[in-house]
Symmetry: C2
Subunit: 338 residues, 2 copies
DNA sequence: CTGTTAGCGCCTTCAG
DNA sequence: CTGAAGGCGCTAACAG
C-alpha cells in the first residue's frame, strides 16, 4: 500500500485530476480555488497511496533543497555532540534535514566546498566552532547564507549565535573569590579563538571586581583538551606562588587539570579548588564531582537553526547571545580557602 | 571566475560543443570517442568556469543521490562521535555526503522515515547502534539498502560491521584474573542489546577459562551511562562477598563505577581494580588513569561505509567483524590482589 | 474552477 | 566522431 514509487501523476490519476492541480492542492496554494469535493478526493488519494514528493525533483524545481549543512571542525569533541543533536532536532521539526561536514576537509582539499556549495546540496550552512576566513569569503562569493554557532568572528558578516561566555566565566570566578581565594588561575583556551577570549575577559572582569590583581602568569592558555588542561595546571602549580583555585574554560581541560593536581599529590578541593565552564554528565562522576557552569549548547544550536531559516526567508538578523543566564552547579570541587 | 551557477550548457558553449557530448566527456563515458583535441577543450572550459554538476539534477536523472543516511539513537554518546567522524571521512573520500538522523524520530513520529526514505534523499543507510524491528522491516519494504554499525541483530537481513566485543572483554577479564583476582564483577550493558550480550559472553568465557565461577550476583546490568555504572558498582560492592575487581562494558559506565568506589571511601586500585571496554582520551585523565580495551569505532564506521557502497553496487556482503585484535591499554586502575 | 505547457539541470538513447 | 530529442518528478505561468 505504501509503495515509495508513487509519483504525483499517480495520485492525480487516482483522484481523476491533472497533476498540476493535485500539486497545488497538496501544497496548499492559496491562489487555487477548488471545490471541497475535489480537494478531498486528492488528499484521500495521496494518503491512501502514501504519496511523498521526491525531494530532489522538488529541489530542482524550487531551488530549495530543504537541507542545512552543519560544518564542524574536529568532530571529536563532546561539545559538538550537543550541537549536532540540537541542530538535527530543530531542523527536523522545521522540515529540514542536516548534512554534516568536517571543516578540515574544506581547508585541506576544498572538497567540502565542492560537495556542499557548488553541487547545490544545501540551502544554508551552520558554522559551528569555526570561522575560517577563506571559507567565509567563499560563502559570500557564492551568496550562500550561513550562521555561526558558538563562535563570534570579529570580521564576519554572518549572524552568530553564542552564549554568555563572559558572564559564565565571571560567575565561576566570583564563586571562587567568594570562597576567599585570591590567587585564582585561568586555564584559558587557545589564542585567537573568540570563545576563549570572551571567557578570559569574564575572568579578568570578575577578578577586578573582586579587587584581585591578575598577573600574566595566572593565565595558562592551551587547547581545549585534557592534555591542554593538564599542562596548564602544572604550570599554575609550579608558580613561585601557586594558585589555590582555578577556573577552567572547558570541561575537558578541567578533567586534565584535575589529573595534574592528583599527579602532584595534592587534593581537590582541599589544596586547590576547580570550576569548569561547560557541564555534562561526566562532571558529576569525576573525583571529586566537579563544579561547573552550564553551557546551553543544544539551545544554541536550536536557535541557530531558527536564525538560519529566517535568513533563508530573506530576513536580516542580528547576532544573538542566548538570554539564558549562566548557572553555576556546585558539586564538590571547590572549598573555602584554608 | 568560479561562479556557482555554471551549467553544463555553459561549458559546452565555451568549448563550442553540444551539451550532450560535454556531459559524456566529463563523465568519462567509454562509448564515446572524441578526438583528444575536443576533449581537451571541454575539460579546459569546465575547469576555467569552475563547473560542478548540480547534485539534485543529476540525482533526479540517475536515481542516485550520492548521499548516505547515518541513523543514530541518543545522539549524546561519545561512541557516536567517533562513528560520525569515521563515517563522514570515508564517505567524503568516496564522493558521498552524509545526512544524520536521530533514530528516536523514527520510532516516535515516523518522520525520519518520511524524510529520508520516501523523499528519496539517500541511497542507503548506516544504522549505528540501532536495530529496531519496525525500522528494518520498513527499509526492506522499500528495498533501501542498509548496513548495521556496531550492532549485530539476530533477525536482521542486512550486513553488519562490528568489532570483537567478546574477545575484547575476555582480554580485560584475563588481565584481572592474571592479577590474582577471583571475585571479578561485570558491569554489563542493558538486556537485549547485542553488543552488551557479546561482552558479557566474553566475560563468562574468560572467567571459566581462568577457572573462576560466575554467579549471577557478579553481573550488574544497566544502561551504558555514568549513572548505570554507578548503580552497578554499588551493587557489586554491597555483595556479601564484595568484588575485588570489575570489568565495565563501557567507558562511561566505568567512570560512574569509579565514582561509586570513591564515594564509599575505597581506593582504586588498592581496594578494587577496574578495566573498561572502549578507550578515549578522558580515560588517561581519570583518577586514577583507567585501564581500557581499545575499541576501533572509527575504523568500524569506515568499514561500514565501504560495505554499504559495495552493497549499493549490487554486491552481496557477509557480516564483518573487524580483524583488528583488541588491545589492552594498561594505566593505573588495576593492581595485583592484596 | 481546471488543464496545458514549459522547464529546473542533467544524462542517454537514437540519428546523422 | 557529434547533435537532437526526450524525460527524471515536480511546479507555475498562462490559458480556457
Amino acid at each position: 500500500v505504501t509503495d515509495s514509487r508513487v509519483r504525483l501523476k499517480d495520485v492525480a490519476a487516482a483522484a481523476g485530476v491533472n497533476p498540476s492541480i493535485a500539486s497545488r492542492v497538496l501544497n496548499g496554494d492559496p491562489t487555487v480555488s477548488t471545490r471541497p469535493e475535489t480537494r478531498e478526493r486528492i488528499h484521500a488519494a495521496a494518503a491512501s497511496l502514501g504519496y511523498t514528493p521526491n525531494a530532489f525533483a522538488r529541489g530542482l524545481k524550487l531551488r530549495r533543497t530543504m537541507t542545512l549543512g552543519l560544518v564542524l571542525p574536529n568532530l571529536v569533541s563532546a561539545v559538538n555532540l550537543e550541537i549536532i543533536q540540537g541542530a538535527e532536532r530543530r531542523a527536523a521539526t522545521a522540515g529540514y534535514v542536516v548534512l554534516i561536514a568536517d571543516a578540515d576537509d574544506f581547508e585541506a582539499t576544498g572538497d567540502l566546498h565542492r560537495r556542499l556549495l557548488l553541487e547545490h546540496r544545501v540551502d544554508g550552512l551552520l558554522l559551528a566552532s569555526t570561522a575560517s576566513e577563506p571559507m567565509v569569503t567563499e560563502l559570500d562569493r557564492h551568496g550562500l547564507p550561513y550562521v555561526f554557532v558558538n563562535r563570534r568572528p570579529t570580521a564576519g558578516r554572518g549572524t552568530c549565535v553564542s552564549n554568555d561566555d563572559e558572564g559564565g566565566m565571571a560567575l565561576a570566578v566570583r564563586h571562587l573569590a567568594a570562597l576567599g581565594h585570591r590567587r585564582i588561575g585561568q586555564i584559558a583556551g587557545p589564542d585567537g579563538v573568540d570563545t576563549a577570549a570572551r571567557r578570559l575577559a569574564g575572568y579578568r572582569r570578575a577578578m577586578s571586581e573582586a579587587g584581585l590583581t591578575v598577573t600574566n602568569d595566572l593565565i595558562a592558555a592551551g587547547p581545549f583538551s585534557e592534555e591542554g588542561g593538564w599542562q596548564a595546571m602544572h604550570h599554575l602549580l609550579e608558580l613561585p606562588q601557586p594558585v589555590t583555585a582555578v577556573a577552567a574554560s572547558s570541561l575537558v581541560g578541567a578533567a586534565g587539570a584535575m589529573a595534574a593536581v592528583h599527579a602532584r599529590g595534592l587534593r581537590i578541593p582541599d589544596d586547590v579548588s576547580i570550576v569548569a565552564f561547560h557541564d555534562a554528565p561526566i562532571a558529576q562522576f569525576l573525583h571529586p564531582p566537579l563544579d561547573t557552569v552550564r553551557m546551553p549548547l543544544r539551545e544554541m544550536a536550536e536557535t541557530a537553526v531558527d536564525c538560519l531559516i529566517r535568513v533563508l526567508q530573506g530576513e536580516e538578523i542580528d547576532d544573538v547571545i542566548l538570554p539564558t543566564p549562566p548557572v553555576l552547579i556546585e558539586r564538590a570541587s571547590t572549598a573555602r580557602l584554608a
